[in-house]
């Protein structure tokens, strides 16, 4: 099903989300949509930074490989989604990581701030689980299949 994916299936998708139920819905939607990439959930912005930085509990890169995509909630404890975004864009090693903001906020100010800090997309959490499945399928279609990121294209060619 995922054979055409540009992103190698081994690389996880990181999801920073403090709302446990939302994390559960996302895991379920990943199963329903049969996404090959593992979904890794971190419960706040600080842990997202720790994971990406490979420090603390996430020091083992073999167990916690760099993600190919970050789904980022905005309102989180310790460090907000915007803090995480700002941090990522200032890290030369991962500054080009595709980041999809996924939030319940429909506020124009939030949308502005997210893009200003370098978000690649801004999605509003759907309230129905089947809509979430649809959204996840769309994410796979665009971000994992069509979209190309620096370094990925040459990697894919080598595999062929």
């Amino acid at each position: 099903m995922n054979s055409g994916a540009i992103q190698p299936a081994g690389r996880p998708i990181l999801y920073a989300e403090d709302e446990e139920n939302d994390a559960f819905f996302m895991e379920r939607a990943f199963n329903e949509a049969k996404i090959a990439h593992p979904l890794v959930v971190v419960p706040n912005g600080q842990e997202a930074i720790d994971y990406l930085d490979g420090i603390g509990a996430y020091a083992d890169r073999a167990r916690f490989p760099l993600p190919c995509l970050l789904l980022l909630d905005l309102n989180m404890p310790l460090k907000s989604g915007l803090d995480v975004l700002k941090w990522i864009r200032n890290q030369p090693a991962i500054s080009t990581l595709p980041v999809i903001v996924l939030t319940s906020s429909l506020q124009d100010a939030d949308i502005h701030r997210a893009y200003a800090q370098g978000a690649n997309a801004y999605l509003v959490k759907p309230s129905a689980p089947n809509e979430l499945v649809h959204m996840v399928k769309t994410i796979r279609e665009f971000w994992l299949t069509q979209n190309r990121t620096p370094g990925q294209t040459s990697g894919a060619l080598k595999v062929e």
Partner: protein, 397 residues
Amino acid sequence: MEAANQNSPKPAVFLLTRIGNDARNAAAVLGKAGMRAEICATMGALCALCALCEQAGEKTGALVIGEEILDQKSLARLSDFLGRQPPWSDMPIILLTAAGEIQPQTYRVLDFLGARANVTLLEKPLRVYTLISVVKTALRSRNRQYEVRHLLESQETLVRQRTAKLQETVGELEAFSYSIAHDMRAPLRSLQGFAQILLTDHGSQLDANGRKYLSRIAGSAERMDKLIRDVLNYSRVVSSELALEMVDVESLLRGIVETYPMFAPDKADVELEGPFPPVLGNEAILTQIFSNLMGNGVKFVPPGVKPRLRVWSESKPSVVRLFVQDNGIGIAADQQERIFGIFQKVHKSFDGTGIGLAIVKKAVERIGGKVCLESELAKGSTFWIEVRPAKSNNEAS
């Protein structure tokens, strides 16, 4: 402020005459009467001294000027000084003129100064009590002006303070709306999500009643979610800053019809009967207005009837009317006032939050227009909004 006023010196009367004795005599009279008099040698000195006084926060009371000193140059100087007075100021000037027939030159000076200041003509030789009384009147009028200034300043301070407080309140309200959006909708999303997952993944383990109750839970959560979103929309329409700009109604309407599935040809017959003139408004606000009005039009139809919408415009030099007509269930005459209030629902059998038309009313008001309605039960409704035409519309015609 009050204490400073009490301590500051008396308002000064500035005297300028060609014959030094005139000024000295007048100053002596005024001084004896308890007034503060300052003799000036030239018009330049008078204007400079007045300006210095005002800068130092002292009050300028009145000018006593001998007519003979007012040649072209000194008149220009005085006029320049008066022109730089603040808006509340109407400087009292007492013009001393020679006895006898009034000369045409005096009339000209009177006209010129009269347009710029509060001028009184006083004939020489001066009588002590006449002079005192005229100067007192001038000082009294000048004092009133200072009181007005003080009042204006305190009003301005009050307005500034209240505006700041209001802005603070609006800011707090916005933060509150935001937390409603985020914190209240999250558990609601869970409620709705788990109910639906239960239905789809475990529905077979429940009997028909169990499934019915579950879908009611999911439906209620969805309604609540819609309600919160509508309230947020309403508060955004009420409080958002918006710039009035030219809006292309024609493409805006076409965009709405193409974007929303409920206006697709298989769901409804929508006729946009152009041309639609550009209007003065705001694109986001007008989109909100028309998606609500047209959405209502296709929503409130009797079961089994295909919704039919007609949208057209009527142009007058100073107003553009934009009409939305439907073939829906209509609104009884006694309900037509009510439906624009927030949380007012007329049709119990239809799903809705009762905010849509309240949003329309507020939104139209925000762009300086109004919304009207003509309807009869079971005969459909025609809503229209009256807005201003865009400038280019006027210039073109």
